[in-house]
């Protein structure tokens, strides 16, 4: 139904309406209404110019809404002076819409919802299903977000970094429902990368492609989490890996490193290893050093400690871990892993069980419990 290319036209059509003087919130509603009509009408009567059709119908919806709302004189006047369709400025409009929907005044969840609707062209119902909340709750979240940005000028330049954070959230923290949020995040990142030559946009796109490539190997047929070292690498999508590496190399060549490029470089090194044993952990540690320098993130430090454990041995890994706050998420799980590799299954089993109790999600809890059970069975036997 609402599959591309129909959805891909949404940001450009919103842009045209806003350019003609419609305010963003009303324009966005009008385009959603036009989409619903397109889904109904197009199968029997496909238009020759889909975008032109959407603009015409959305503008009519906007005019209807403005007329119905007679207290808003400004819009009434606008309607009387309806402009001719101007030249398409789709590229700029779409980019501006990304900025508006990720405006810093929005909470992350609001920015995510608004981006998926206005830039992604998803319906409120689809977004609600994707985040497991009632449709009315999601509708409110979106309309509040629109009110929050109502004072922001559409042509105001925005910050790419906030857009990237929103797309990263969509990619990394989505549920696995009917809407494939990871694929949607990739689509939106591709569309963004086509409109801007920002190195970090390319870095994020590469990161997404390289991780998405592993998706078929990440979960077992019984739904269990398969850790990187145990993944069947033949299942990795080599086409996505090739594309991710190319996108990353082009970005790195511009010599303006950022956190997403560094993360993508780590993912690329994993992708490059035909077996887990062939992994170039020394280079991975170097990239983590870059990542720590760029972000000073405790999570990056934790991952670095695990990489040190692979590159230099479990003792140096544990030493690096000991410098970090034990309350960090996954700190105990990392300690359990390094203690096992250090030949201390008793401590490892205890820590795996402890890590399982504070796991942030069910697949991780089950995975950690299984690790503890495996070691305990071995210790008994």
């Amino acid at each position: 139904m609402n599959e591309p290319p129909l959805r891909e036209l949404v940001p450009a059509v919103i842009g045209v309406l806003v350019r003609r003087g419609a305010d963003f919130a009303v324009a966005e509603d009008a385009v959603q209404d036009a989409l619903v009509e397109a889904v109904r009408v197009w199968p029997d009567d496909p238009p020759r110019d889909p975008k032109g059709w959407l603009v015409t119908v959305a503008w009519r919806k906007f005019v209807d809404a403005a007329r119905a709302d007679s207290s808003r004189r400004r819009r009434e006047e606008l309607v009387d002076t309806e402009p001719e369709p101007g030249p398409a400025q789709a590229v700029d409009d779409t980019l501006r819409l990304y900025f508006l929907c990720a405006h810093p005044s929005l909470t992350p969840a609001s920015a995510v919802a608004l981006t998926l609707r206005a830039v992604g062209g998803l319906t409120t119902r689809q977004i609600a299903q994707a985040y497991l909340v009632p449709e009315v709750t999601m509708a409110q979240r979106i309309s509040r977000a629109k009110r929050t940005v109502s004072g922001v000028r559409f042509n105001q330049p925005g910050d790419v970094a906030t857009v990237l954070r929103v797309l990263y959230l969509v990619f990394n923290e989505g549920y696995s429902g009917d809407v494939d949020l990871a694929a949607e995040a990739i689509r939106l990142a591709r569309q963004l990368a086509a409109r801007t030559h920002h190195e970090e946009v390319a870095g994020l796109l590469a990161l997404m492609l390289l991780h998405h490539a592993r998706r078929p190997a990440r979960t077992g047929s019984d739904g269990r989490l398969v850790p990187l070292a145990e993944q069947e690498r033949g299942l990795w999508d080599t086409r996505l890996i090739t594309e991710g590496v190319e996108v990353l190399q082009t970005a790195l060549a511009r010599d303006r490193l950022g956190e997403f490029q560094a993360q993508a470089a780590i993912a690329a090194l994993h992708a490059d290893a035909r077996t887990a044993e062939e992994t170039d952990w020394v280079q991975i540690v170097e990239w983590y050093d870059e990542l720590v320098r760029l972000t000073d993130s405790p999570v990056a430090r934790l991952n670095r400690a695990v990489a040190v454990g692979e590159a230099d041995g479990p003792r140096p890994g544990l030493a690096a871990l000991a410098e970090l706050d034990p309350a960090l998420p996954r700190h105990t799980a990392a300690a359990a892993y390094l203690h096992e590799r250090d030949g201390d299954p008793v401590t490892a089993a205890r820590l795996y069980a402890e890590a399982a109790r504070s796991a942030p999600n069910l697949p991780e809890r089950d995975h950690l419990t299984r690790q503890a059970a495996r070691l305990n069975a071995h210790l008994r036997g």
Partner: protein
């Protein structure tokens, strides 16, 4: 965003400050209490944080597998069961602090004398989805 369960107990939670059983409230106090709960849910719908709200009857039974070819075994209700769930609200919020703030407000629902019940609500995080990027 993260989802939290705000769990309300018939039994099992520490005693509330305003500890008068509902059947001894005035009808107006009951109406005010019900209205407070409704308004609270409606407000959370408005902020985009509401997921679900349900109430449970105190009547119930325990059920277990009875073995191959046998019907399930039922038992209870047990008067002595220490923990009895009365209902819940599920919220989807930006932070843990926000979940605590909302639970505090929900616990302020009026009871006897029109004063807040100060009842203890249990706040439990949902498991989320595993993240894609883990290294």
């Amino acid at each position: 965003m993260a989802k939290y369960l705000l769990l309300k107990h018939y039994r099992g939670a520490p005693a509330p400050v305003n500890d008068v059983p509902m059947e001894r409230w005035t009808p107006e106090e009951i109406t005010a209490h019900v209205q407070y709960m409704r308004d609270f849910a409606a407000r959370l719908e408005g902020t985009g944080e509401f997921v679900d709200s349900q109430a449970l009857s105190p009547e119930g039974a325990f059920v277990r597998y009875g073995g191959e070819g046998r019907p399930p075994v039922t038992d209870g209700p047990f008067a002595e069961t220490k923990d009895l769930i009365a209902g819940w609200m599920v919220i989807d919020v930006e932070t843990y602090e926000r979940a605590i703030e909302l639970a505090g407000e929900l616990s302020a629902a009026p009871g006897a004398g029109g004063k807040p019940i100060h009842e203890w609500l249990e706040v439990r995080p949902f498991y989320g989805e595993p993240p894609t990027v883990t290294e």
